[in-house]
């Protein structure tokens, strides 16, 4: 009898808990609106929204290779499955044409779409929650005045139970703590502007902050380094593995032009970011640099750069010195040095500064970082030319270099040029980088 009563109250408790959870998780739809006329938005607001869209990197995820801008459909591989970005053009049926400003604001700040469905945090609403009303209104004005594109995003490919959007309510309860931006009165206006943009629209931490097993950013380790699409998103501020501390000026130049002489070139998923920032307002990018520089630098003093292994006097500005450095195989000369002299030196030791010459590899963060990921990716894939922009280029060596050659080259670069102990488990990293570099049947246009 007692048992039965305990059992019954248990059921009632679970049911009540479930109902409460459902009530928490349930979000109502916001009524659709007639698509607003383009002329209903103020031109200066639209322009401001365009700038925010650049800083927010919106088009990078919401556009496929060769597809219409903002029409969505880009496959975003996550550890949990593949999520497809959505159409954010004002098409009434497949885009956000029937979204009111209130619906748009709720999606940006709370990760809930107009119909009331929870959005996956691949859409970084954990950052966008900081954005100000006026800025969201401007971004809305910009998006709603784009050409509508009819494009239905493919269905997400996620396993049970992650494919149930209600599960995201639990995720949000655990990991999503929306805040409004509170300026720091002890700092100047550009710093506050920079912090607002970096932590909000620009969502830098989405890649540069490590994530936990549930895919949430570990806020206690902000900017300690993360990963994006097989590339390392290097740690920033006090965790930076850079050979030379990043200064505000260096950060500003890097974010605006995509390369910086003391640090190297933006690679992989950072390329579209800097391409967007190149068009964004200069003062906003400078503000972001001010805030990022204020994160600090590593406490340890930087070790002096190792002297270049061979005496390359006379090597610059021509590479003749490097060619002379190549002895016959079997003479004891490291294979990696021979490969470097033959395949790399003509650009990287040509004495031409970036962006026309190669990165000074002794300063390259890809060589000094904790992971060989980015070095391997760039050796194999190269740096593809940017459409319509003057930017650094490098040919890839995926078909030319076998694993033995790559191993020898990386050993030389890491140990002799960067003066650091070899990376552990290099073979596995090489295998992963090669998998990523081999063109899939339809990958060509995706570069």
């Amino acid at each position: 009898m007692l048992l039965k009563r305990v059992f019954l109250s248990g059921i009632i408790l679970v049911a009540a808990g479930g109902a409460a959870a459902l009530a928490y998780a349930w979000r109502g739809a916001i009524p659709p609106i007639a698509p607003p006329a383009v002329t209903s938005f103020q031109p200066d607001e639209v322009l401001r929204g365009a700038d925010l869209a650049l800083i927010g990197d919106c088009r990078t995820c919401h556009t496929t290779a060769g597809g219409r801008t903002f029409a969505g459909g880009l496959a975003m591989p996550t550890p949990f499955g593949t999520i497809y970005s959505t159409n954010i053009t004002p098409d009434p049926e497949t885009g956000i044409g029937r979204w009111s400003l209130a619906a748009f604001t709720r999606a940006m700040r709370e990760g809930v779409d107009r119909e009331g469905r929870h959005l996956y945090p691949a859409f970084p609403y954990d950052h966008f929650s900081l954005t100000a009303d006026a800025d969201l209104k401007a971004l809305y004005a910009f998006l709603m005045t784009r050409d509508p594109v009819v494009a239905e995003a493919p269905a997400n490919d996620l396993p049970f139970p992650i494919n149930l959007r209600l599960v995201l309510a639990g995720w949000k309860l655990l990991f999503f703590h929306p805040e409004t931006y509170v300026p720091d009165p002890s700092r100047d206006a550009p710093w506050n502007r920079g912090r607002y943009l970096v932590e909000g629209f620009a969502h830098c931490g989405a890649c540069h902050t490590p994530r936990n097993l549930m895919g949430a950013e570990v806020s206690s380790r902000a900017f300690a380094g993360g990963e994006a699409e097989g590339w390392a998103a290097f740690p920033l501020g006090p965790h930076s593995p850079s050979r030379i501390p990043w200064t505000e000026a260096a950060l500003g130049d890097y974010l605006r032009q995509g390369w910086q002489a003391d640090h190297g070139v933006a690679l992989g998923p950072m390329r579209p970011v800097v391409e967007n920032l190149a068009e964004a307002p200069a003062e906003d990018v400078a503000a972001m640099a001010r805030y990022l520089a204020s994160l600090g630098a590593p406490a340890a003093t930087f070790p002096p750069l190792p002297a270049a292994a061979p005496d390359m006097s006379g090597a610059r500005p021509q590479s003749a010195g490097w060619q002379a450095a190549i002895a016959a195989p079997g003479t004891g000369q490291p294979e990696g040095l021979r490969l470097f002299a033959a395949a790399c030196a003509s650009c990287h030791e040509a004495g031409r500064p970036l962006p026309l010459g190669g990165t000074d590899l002794a300063l390259s963060t890809s060589l000094s970082a904790d992971t060989p990921q980015n070095l391997l990716n760039v050796v194999l894939q190269g740096v593809p030319a940017s459409d319509g922009q003057a930017a650094p280029i490098m040919p890839g060596f995926v078909s030319a270099m076998n694993d033995a050659a790559l191993t020898a080259l990386v050993a030389y670069l890491r140990q002799t040029v960067a003066g650091k102990p070899g990376w552990p488990d290099l073979p596995a990293a090489i295998a992963a980088a090669r998998d990523a570099a081999i063109p899939s049947p339809h990958a060509g246009a995706a570069r």
Partner: protein
């Protein structure tokens, strides 16, 4: 001395190990099909196949090719007996100045070995690294499709005669 296979024949070359493959092919082996375009691995005129994969021979030091198998446009056929890709490029008159065409054909050969019946998107994606300044792009695409059809027909014929035997 570096030894590799070129168009099915084993060759040993004495060029310095850092010499780009393109120079070795043209200057030491007198295979002038692959062209020097930009010298930076950006235009594709120098494209050859190594172990079946297309690469830019102008930036590939020959020391990386020990024991490997190289295929150049000369390996696709001869003037008297052009191979299927070459015949298709001639039939479609896909060359204007022709400087890029050897590279185009090698990149297309790699594509056809990977995807025997490519659609327009496959061809556009595969040939993206190859530049043509004359503007015969549409003819090049048609030529690759024509070659794919010719290869499919030849294969069907071969299978039919195999079955008849």
């Amino acid at each position: 001395m570096i030894t590799f296979t070129v168009n099915g024949t084993q060759r040993s070359v004495t060029s310095d190990p850092d010499t780009p493959l393109l120079y070795v092919l043209r200057d030491e082996l007198a295979l002038n099909g692959a062209k020097f375009g930009c010298g930076l691995g950006q235009c594709g005129a120098c494209t050859v196949l190594v172990d079946g994969e297309a690469l830019f021979s102008c930036i590939t030091p020959v020391m990386l090719l020990e024991g490997r198998s190289i295929r150049t446009v000369e390996g696709l056929g001869t003037v008297d007996e052009p191979g299927p890709l070459q015949a298709a490029f001639i039939a479609e008159q896909a060359a204007q100045c022709g400087y890029c065409i050897a590279g185009m054909m090698m990149r297309a050969q790699e594509l056809l070995e990977r995807i025997p019946d490519p659609d327009d998107d496959d061809i556009l994606a595969a040939l993206e690294p190859q530049l043509c300044r004359c503007g015969t792009h549409m003819r090049v695409i048609r030529a690759v499709k024509r070659a794919a059809q010719a290869l499919a027909q030849a294969q069907a014929l071969a299978q039919a005669s195999e079955g008849a035997r």
